[in-house]
């Protein structure tokens, strides 16, 4: 029994070795199969890395301790509106963490400015956020990376890292046109890759009159005492008859912001990858049929010598999987090299403003790409393998 297995394995190894040794004779078709598969994997990983990048930007924005309060019925800050009175009541709710200055609640305004993109020179909706002192206190990841923080009460602005890279005229020392005024840029900031990096920040007290918002805001960001405090905080706000608001955990809010864009890109990317994969499978089938046909006599000879069907099938499969693996690794590597960290900005319909993000080729995507390549290799090798194994020995030997 045991010796039977060993003999069987030796057969597999022998045929496989023989197949691989003859590979150089079929360089052309093997290389074209490898590149076919590499192309599919590169495109698939590349497109999906856009979706991952957007998702990561949204997730980096969320802190488990934080919550956001919008007007009920509003799904985004853009649509929301909260008057000064509501903001005061929200800041007094239970569950909010406090520091020496009081409750860590940050009322904010969110509007858009039309500024030209660096890449195309065409105008885009750049988010402009009006904040109070607490905005920095509720965001742990916020830090100034060049220049300085704007002066409170002045029309100075600071610019997120992503916005600075994507839109022109936002370098420290330049000025942003807002209506008939010019607002000087005095610093740039980083927010751990979060959404805030796409934004321009200014004192809310300056933004309110400039955009005719009176004493109103659009959202309140709060830092909670603990992650468990959210339920109490939410209940306190929703039970208050003077308020008409919707509190959400930040994670939940940012997820909802990313969903549409993520699904659209992932859906399209998958569709494209599947269709391309079909094309690559036909290519792989062709290569393997050619490869098997070219060795028809050799394979028949082996079988005449007593090699069994399964080792022959396995060896052909192995060759095809090996080609697919090489193609998959090349494609995934190419995508990683070309796309990982590539910066871009697009319009997020959910907030009607630009989101700057970096393409993100995650290890999971690489694995997914290589798995897809192996799948192509499996299908591409299986049929030719079966054919090789089933062709009558006598016929194959007689063939030229």
């Amino acid at each position: 029994m045991m010796s039977g297995l060993v003999a069987w394995l030796m057969q597999v190894a022998a045929v496989t070795r023989f197949n691989l040794l003859t590979l150089p004779q079929r360089v052309g078709s093997s290389v074209s199969a490898i590149f076919g598969i590499a192309g599919v994997v590169a495109v698939m990983v590349g497109v999906l890395s856009i979706a991952q990048g957007i998702l990561a930007t949204m997730q980096n924005s969320a802190s488990p301790l934080n919550a956001i309060v919008l007007r009920s019925g509003a799904n985004t800050e853009m649509m929301s509106g909260l008057d000064g009175e509501s903001v005061k009541i929200i800041a007094q709710a239970q569950g909010i963490a406090r520091n020496e200055h009081g409750a860590l609640a940050s009322p904010e305004l969110f509007v858009i400015l039309n500024l030209p993109k660096r890449s195309t020179g065409t105008e885009a909706n750049v988010p402009l956020r009006g904040v109070r002192e607490n905005a920095v206190a509720v965001r742990d990841s916020f830090r100034i990376i060049s220049g300085r923080m704007f002066g409170w009460g002045t029309n100075e602005v600071i610019v997120g890292r992503g916005a600075n890279l994507e839109f022109s005229g936002l370098d420290v020392g330049s000025s942003v046109p807002v209506g008939s005024e010019l607002w000087p840029v005095v610093g740039t900031f980083d927010a751990a890759g979060g959404l805030a990096e796409s934004e321009i920040w200014v004192d809310a007290a300056v933004l309110q009159p400039a955009f005719r918002r009176g004493n109103s805001y659009q959202a309140v960001y709060v830092k909670l005492e603990s992650t468990d405090a959210f339920t109490a905080f939410k209940d306190a706000l929703t039970a208050d008859p003077k308020l008409n608001v919707k509190p959400m955990r930040e994670a939940e809010y940012y997820d909802s912001q990313a969903t549409t864009l993520y699904n659209l890109i992932t859906g399209l990317g998958t569709l494209i990858a599947v269709i391309m994969g079909l094309g690559a499978t036909f290519g792989a089938l062709n290569t393997m049929y050619t490869s098997v046909a070219a060795r028809g006599r050799e394979i028949a000879t082996l079988r005449a010598l007593g090699f069994r069907t399964v080792p022959v099938i396995l060896s052909v499969l192995f060759e095809s999987l090996l080609l697919a693996l090489i193609g998959g690794i090349i494609g995934a590597g190419l995508a990683w090299w070309a796309f990982d960290g590539f910066r871009a900005a697009t319009l997020n319909w959910a907030s009607f403003s630009q989101v700057a993000f970096a393409f993100k080729v995650t290890p999971a995507l690489l694995v997914q790409g290589i798995t897809f390549a192996l799948l192509i290799g499996l299908v591409g090798g299986l049929f030719p393998a079966v054919r090789a194994a089933r062709q009558p020995v006598a016929t194959a030997l007689r063939e030229l």
């Binding site: 497109v47 065409t122 549409t260 269709i275 062709n286 319009l347």
Partner: protein
Amino acid sequence: MKYFYLVWSNLKRRKLRSLLTVLSILVAFMLFGYLSAIRQGFNQGISVAGANRLVVRHKVSLIQLLPESYQARMERIPGVNSAVHATWFGGIYQKPSNFFAQMPVQPERYLDMYPEYVLPAEQRAAWLATRSGAIAGKVLAERFGWKIGDRIPINATIWFKKDGGATWEFDLVGIYTGVEKNTDTSGFFFRYDFFEETRAQGSGLVGWYTVRISDPARAAETAAAIDEEFANSPAETKTEPEGAFIQGFANQIGNIGQIMMSIVAAVFFTILLVAGNTMAYSVRERTNELAVLKAIGFSDRKVLGLVLGESMLLTCLGGGLGLVLAWLLISLGDPTRGSLPVFFFPVREMIIGVGLVLGMGLIAGILPALRAQRLHIADALRR
């Protein structure tokens, strides 16, 4: 043509290989067709924008509102024929993913401004007679299975009602169609007077204006005159041609077209490699036969033509079927189920597709064909 049988027989020799090559080319062209429809969907409107229409919005950004009184002032500016306004309602029908545009407009003026929206006369009359009346585009009505007479509740996110409610109910009195197949019929319009009397805040403010000008050649001057009229007012304007405005939106999404085209290029490169390799292989396999053909009197050029013809036949079969299949797939409908305002196979892209089929057949076949042409009979026969 008399050699067609010979070419065809060569393809039939290795049926499976020819079939697989045809199939992989088919996939490439199917993808090409499908992506061009998606790209068209993203860039919709640019090609259909009226040359005689300008869009006027708040200078700071589109979300800032403009006074309703600007309409009369604009219409007094020389070169302006008429001005209509629209406002972004941004409501939700049943659930947020059912996104579509809803806008309050002045019915008659709006339909006059956009002659590409076709509304039957009796439906137009019904709209004018019903304050809570609304009209929906054909694509939109089909998406949700709406029929005339339906009551459509939409939840406000920006515009709440005076009574504090968020649910606006509209009576669907008409379904408009497009003059051409690339007309966007995914919109939902209701009456501005109903909007104005019902909304809780923002009375007298509208989103943006569309202006028809008498002379498209003087568009830039007229745009400047409009912006001049409102300069130094609390709500300054920015006026641009409708095409530029829509193009601006398309650009905001990022260069979708470019991304799509680079994907198509990657696919083509891949398939070209596979097809080219197959051709090269089958020529090498037949070196002997080609030499025999030459020996019995086929000229070098004829042999070149035979091999090239074989390559062209393969790609035309695959590419042609792929384009037809893409067309069939596209007519099945939009993969995002309604997020793209239009979804069809543009004629221009079809022609480009046919050109690509021919080009690919040529490129894939040219090297093996040249090789066949240069074959020396004696050398080849000796192999």
